[in-house]
């Protein structure tokens, strides 16, 4: 006799003795997930192209209106040169996002490739990779970034290379673990014994598991990359001070803090935070939607 596989076999608890849902938002309608994803993507499209949309008008020096607190005319206030902070922030955000996305994509591709190769070939290649990852994890992330950026000579390329070269480890680990698990999964081994070609197995059995992991991993990599780029730029090893990157904006704002011009730091940082947060939200919702393991039945 077979039994229904959808019967909850274990009961679960929460504070009042009733079950707590593990991911409350998973219980909401799937439409809400898709909607959220759409909104996030819309925001990012705006942010990435925002620089071009808004134009450079607010970036020019306009001394008469300098150091103004946020108002209707200047929602983010103006800086010591009279430049509109909202425009500067949007440009900076756009810049940081582009750099972050570029570096993160590099990283993700490298990570996924290395992880797959290591798990597929196994043996000393796998050991070498695992050991390499351990070495990378043995240093504080920022220190490693600083060293690489420094070694490459700083600047925009420095930041991109530094970020790209250090963010692959997490995804490599995940993909490697996934591939290892898949290779030893009974259904994969059975498929091989039935005579299915490796390509077929890869496409039918492995990709459905790997692609979601890669996609979600990639999306969740963006916030880290963006924040690290901003951090490097902030301490002066990143993007050139001529560019309105968020890190630069915040670093410059430090000079004027004592005079009470709080909007120079608060608003751009908040914008960065929101952007980063939205990536997290996007990543989690995409995962809910496409990861076969967490799709609720």
């Amino acid at each position: 006799m077979s039994q229904s596989s959808t019967t909850p076999a274990t009961t679960t608890l929460s504070s009042s003795g009733k079950v707590a849902r593990i991911y409350p938002w998973q219980m909401n309608r799937r439409q809400k997930t898709v909607l959220t994803i759409g909104l996030c993507l819309g925001f990012f499209a705006l942010a990435l192209l925002g620089g071009r949309i808004i134009g450079d008008a607010g970036l020019s020096t306009n001394l008469p209106s300098r150091n103004q607190a946020p108002s209707l005319a200047h929602p983010f206030g103006t800086d010591w040169l009279g430049r509109d902070m909202l425009t500067r922030t949007l440009h900076g955000l756009s810049l940081s996002l582009w750099v972050g996305l570029l570096a993160a994509t590099f990283s993700a591709v490298i990570g996924a490739a290395l992880g797959t190769i290591a798990a597929t070939i196994g043996g000393w290649v796998d050991t070498l990779l695992t050991w390499c990852i351990d070495v990378f994890f043995s240093l504080p992330h920022l220190v490693l970034l600083i060293m690489i950026a420094f070694a490459v000579g700083g600047g925009t390329t420095g930041v991109i290379i530094a970020v790209a070269c250090t963010h692959w480890t997490g995804l490599a680990r995940i993909i490697r673990a996934e591939v290892l698990q898949l290779r030893s999964a009974p259904y994969v081994q059975l498929a091989a014994q039935f005579g299915r070609s490796p390509t077929w197995i890869a496409c039918e059995h492995m990709l459905p598991h790997l692609v979601p992991q890669f996609l979600v991993g990639l999306i969740l990599l963006f916030p880290h990359a963006i924040l690290h780029e901003a951090g490097l730029t902030f301490i002066g090893i990143g993007l050139s001070p001529h560019l309105p990157a968020i890190g630069i904006i915040l670093a410059e704002s430090m000079r004027y803090l004592a005079t009470g011009y709080w909007w120079l730091a608060a608003m751009p940082g908040a914008a960065l935070l929101i952007a980063v947060k939205l990536f997290d939200v996007l990543g989690e919702h995409v995962r809910a939607l496409i990861d076969p393991k967490t799709r609720q039945s």
Binding site: M1, Q3, T7, A9, T11, V19, R30, S297
Partner: protein
Amino acid sequence: MLHVQNLTVAFTVYERGLAQKRLTVITDLDVEVQAGEVVAIVGASGSGKSLLAHAILGILPHNADLGGTMTFEGEALTPARKEALRGKQIVLVPQSVASLDPLMRVGAQVQRAAQLSGQRSRAADQAVDQAFRRYSLPETTRQRYPFQLSGGMARRVLVSTAVVGSAKLVIADEPTPGLHPQIVAETLGHLRELADEGCGVLLITHDIEAALQIADRVAVFYAGTTVEMALASDFAHGATALRHPYTKALWRALPQNEFIALAGTQPNPDALPDGCLFADRCPLVTAACRVARPESRSLRGGLVRCIHAEG
């Protein structure tokens, strides 16, 4: 002592898309346990029998809907009453050693069970010693961690948690999953002992042979409902003494009998048929069967849900 009538347990879960699904895991279940007797609920693995235990104890998940009535010693089992009684007058003997905290010494855990049943720490301490001695567990057992226990020892520790208090109703949830026959016999013996001392024992199991060893009455569980309530002795007299077609098929499927399995599968909990739940596999099915669920009626000293069951 325990009287369960028309118990229904359903879950509402969310599906791909917007759809919500309602899984009715237990439908119109009737069972009754008196003091001093062992009542076995026998049914296929994974068909929701454990949820009956959780329903009685009041520890079902949040998204569970409960219907029907349950009384204990004459009074209704409200959620508040369940909370007051569990661990004290109604206890559970769980399925596996995974029910023990892996980082806590076994003695401390049993002592905690004793304390929760209402005893002070000194008395609880002694109760643990007593229980362990009763089940021939060596002195060192108290200091052991769950991973250090052998299968048999683990079962005896789990049973100990039931006897350290003054429980009246013991619910044993699948107490013999895949264990060595000797341990199975031992465990069942302990449960029989408890019944003989005056407790009521509700034995939930898929192992019908084990159940028949110690049960007084057997409730047959199919697709979430009890299709028959028989005396254990009925099984010894062969298929003719049994009432429901499913029970007869079950009996026939036993290795020592004809060893023929029944074709087909249980209906899905999210799509239960309107009529009799056994209709698709029943040799006696007629049009009338598919119209409405049969009521439980008395027959030859037992109960059965079938319009065709004869005396």
